[in-house]
């Protein structure tokens, strides 16, 4: 988003390069990230991270992988809504949502290359199988789902270059593809929670629960919805598009339901495990736990329960932002805060870790902007294109458009 300050709808048009504030921010993050990359791949993990034997997983797992996958959950949520549940009114926002998901998963894979001690062995799970390992399952699902997302995204590219044969093929397998995508997402979104089930004695009771897979899955749906609201609002602002307000209001309504479901399950779980009393015992974990509850559940539920807030673009936007921040806090708590007590280590990422993460986030925004500039992501742009092209293309347009989604 940051990159495209130029008008849209004119692919490959030569535009003069101008420095804007966001471009400078991007270039700074890119430079810092590349320098950190150099350190990571010339001196190893020890020199480039604050990880240790006591704290082997840091921000690259917590944020880049756990939060990355979570923030990309809009893809499966929206494709299921539109294609399986046949809610056509959501159709207009499906392309940017798939783009967000696809970029998200690509960037998760990029982050993994930094975090893995021997990244060149990343393909090993393909042939060295251990079906008892959650990590193995996550690896397979993420790999397959990234392929599914590439295929779900491909019509946008195929359409841009008018490759109709390939388009027709992708269209013909679209529904099985969407179903496969939803199943794979359900599996690995929940499995990221299952990763932590094997460490009951290490993870703080606020966050260790036999229901971790359920919590991770439900929160992924909530975040998928919130991310779609966030991304649509931002796009409308930066690309000068008409805000799809009725769609976002509907997403807001569903979000309230998912959040309530999550909140009730979470509360029941805490009550059954006898952890409620810990919630009023001041301490490091307690503060971060309350921060998470406030951002992810309490404030958004108060806001979104009001019809006025649900109807206003600003209200929806800020509720979505709160949900995103809240569940990012949740993932960081599960993977970092919850382990600081049992390991006796206080982990804070090194600048190199932050620089790599910052660069990856910046790349996400930049690639989104580039994609919007050069590909038919938004409906308006798409319409302009269709008019400009020949009658034959216009006739086949319905087929094409739908194939994309």
């Amino acid at each position: 988003m940051k990159l495209s300050s130029s008008p849209m709808g004119s692919p490959f048009r030569a535009t003069g390069f101008r420095f804007t504030f966001w471009k400078l921010v991007f270039l700074f993050l890119l430079a810092a990230g590349l320098y950190a990359t150099f350190i990571r791949f010339t001196q190893g993990l020890g020199a480039s991270t604050n990880l240790s034997d006591k704290f082997p997983w840091g921000i690259w797992i917590s944020f880049d992988v756990l939060c990355g996958v979570m923030l990309a959950a809009g893809g499966f949520t929206l494709t299921a809504t539109v294609h399986i549940f046949n809610l056509e009114r959501m159709h207009s926002i499906i392309r940017p949502t798939i783009l967000t998901a696809f970029l998200g998963y690509i960037l998760v894979c990029v982050a993994l290359m930094y975090d893995l001690g021997k990244p060149y062995n990343i393909w090993h799970p393909l042939i060295m199988r251990n079906p008892h390992s959650v990590m193995f399952e996550v690896a397979y699902c993420v790999m397959l789902y990234t392929t599914v997302l590439a295929l779900e995204f491909s019509p946008i590219v195929l359409e841009r270059f008018n490759m109709r044969k390939s388009l027709r093929f992708v269209r013909s397998i679209l529904i099985p593809l969407v179903i496969l995508g939803v199943i794979l997402s359900t599996l690995h979104q929940s499995s990221l929670g299952t990763l932590y089930l094997i460490m009951p004695e290490k993870l703080h009771p606020f966050w260790y629960s036999p229901l971790l897979p359920v919590f991770f899955f439900l929160s992924a749906i909530a975040v998928g919805l919130a991310m779609t609201i966030f991304e649509s609002s931002q796009s409308a602002k930066h690309f000068g598009l008409q805000l799809e307000l009725p769609v976002l209001q509907e997403l807001g309504r569903v979000l309230v339901v998912v959040l309530w479901l999550y909140a009730i399950l979470r509360f029941e779980d805490l009550a059954h495990r006898g952890v409620l009393r810990l919630m009023i015992r001041p301490g490091y974990e307690m503060y971060l736990f309350w921060l998470e509850l406030m951002l992810a559940l309490i404030l958004p539920l108060i806001l979104l329960s009001q019809r006025k807030v649900r109807a206003s673009p600003t209200g929806l936007y800020w509720s979505a932002v709160l949900v995103l921040l809240g569940f990012i806090t949740n993932r960081m708590n599960v993977s970092i805060t919850g382990f600081e007590g049992s390991t006796g280590v206080h982990y804070f990422p090194k600048w190199t870790e932050l620089a790599v993460t910052g660069m990856i986030i910046a790349l996400g925004f930049a690639l989104f902007g580039l994609a919007v500039q050069y590909l038919p992501i938004f409906a308006q742009e798409h319409a302009v294109e269709a008019i400009a092209e020949s009658t034959a293309t216009v006739e086949s347009e319905p087929v094409l458009e739908n194939a994309g989604d």
């Binding site: 190893g44 299921a80 021997k118 990343i122 599996l187 739908n402």
Partner: protein, 261 residues
């Protein structure tokens, strides 16, 4: 059939010859400064922990149902029938899930290296396979570390506790912890003194994940059927509406053709 180590801390004199033998067996450096380190690391696979006049060994417990082997996505960690939990660095991709998952926090990493591997005591698998004792048990001058059949060692440990009332904590650490381990410990003072976790259950930890994972083969076809069914119903409604000449709600004309399979 399964071999094990029994370490009786009341017999140990803290001479650290086990540390030295372990280092030379695993081709790791050993000198005075390394001897002074009282924690396991990538270059020190076993260590003697001193608390007052009491000693305790720390090493990989070589669990009967190891978390590390269960979580490793590429099967680089394996439990062998003879007892040792071995590691194949060529398979490892460095995800470090084994380090996070181990209930004893045993696996260590070569953080300083560009191409790092996990390091842990592997219970001298080659020696054990050849019918020999582990290096640490062979060198031990007092017999504090004893190598043998796991069942025999358990009987021996129980005998020692029975014959010396008051001398030991009435607990064989590793007999039942996380489903039992191939390293058994006896101590005169509570094991927590030396950083051993108390309160580890008797159930093997890999069961906690497997309970969830084992549902996947059922979930995939059922989930697929359910989603396919919902798709069929939602679209069938539309078809019926169309054929009856009603206009289905919220329908964009240009999307009609595309959604039919």
């Amino acid at each position: 059939m399964s071999r094990a180590l029994l370490y009786d801390s009341t017999v140990c004199i803290g001479c650290r010859q086990c540390e030295q033998a372990c280092a030379s067996q695993n081709k790791l450096p050993y000198d005075d400064s390394i001897a002074a380190e009282e924690q396991q690391s990538a270059h020190k696979l076993t260590c003697i922990v001193t608390r007052g006049d009491k000693f305790m060994r720390r090493l990989c417990m070589n669990c009967n149902e190891p978390s590390c082997a269960s979580v490793c996505p590429v099967g680089a960690m394996q439990k062998t029938a003879l007892g040792p939990v071995i590691y194949d660095a060529s398979k490892c991709m460095g995800c470090r899930y084994c380090m996070v998952a181990c209930p004893f926090s045993v696996p260590k990493y070569e953080w300083g290296k560009l191409i790092p591997k996990v390091e842990k005591c592997t219970m001298c698998p080659d020696r054990v396979a050849a019918g020999k004792q582990t290096a640490c048990a062979e060198i031990c001058p007092t017999g504090a570390t004893k190598f043998g059949e796991r069942d025999d060692l358990i009987a021996d440990a129980q005998q020692r506790i029975r014959d010396n009332p008051g001398k030991y904590v009435n607990h064989i650490y590793g007999l039942q912890e996380v489903g039992g381990t191939s390293v058994l410990l006896l101590s005169a003072v509570p094991f927590e003194t030396f950083g051993y976790r108390s309160g580890l259950g008797k159930d093997p930890l890999p069961m906690l994940t497997y309970r969830v994972l084992s549902r996947i083969p059922d979930f995939v076809p059922l989930g697929g059927m359910a989603l396919g069914g919902i798709w069929w119903i939602t679209h069938r409604r539309e078809e019926v509406a169309l054929s009856e000449g009603r206009k289905p709600a919220q329908k964009k004309d240009d999307n009609k053709t595309g959604r039919k399979p």
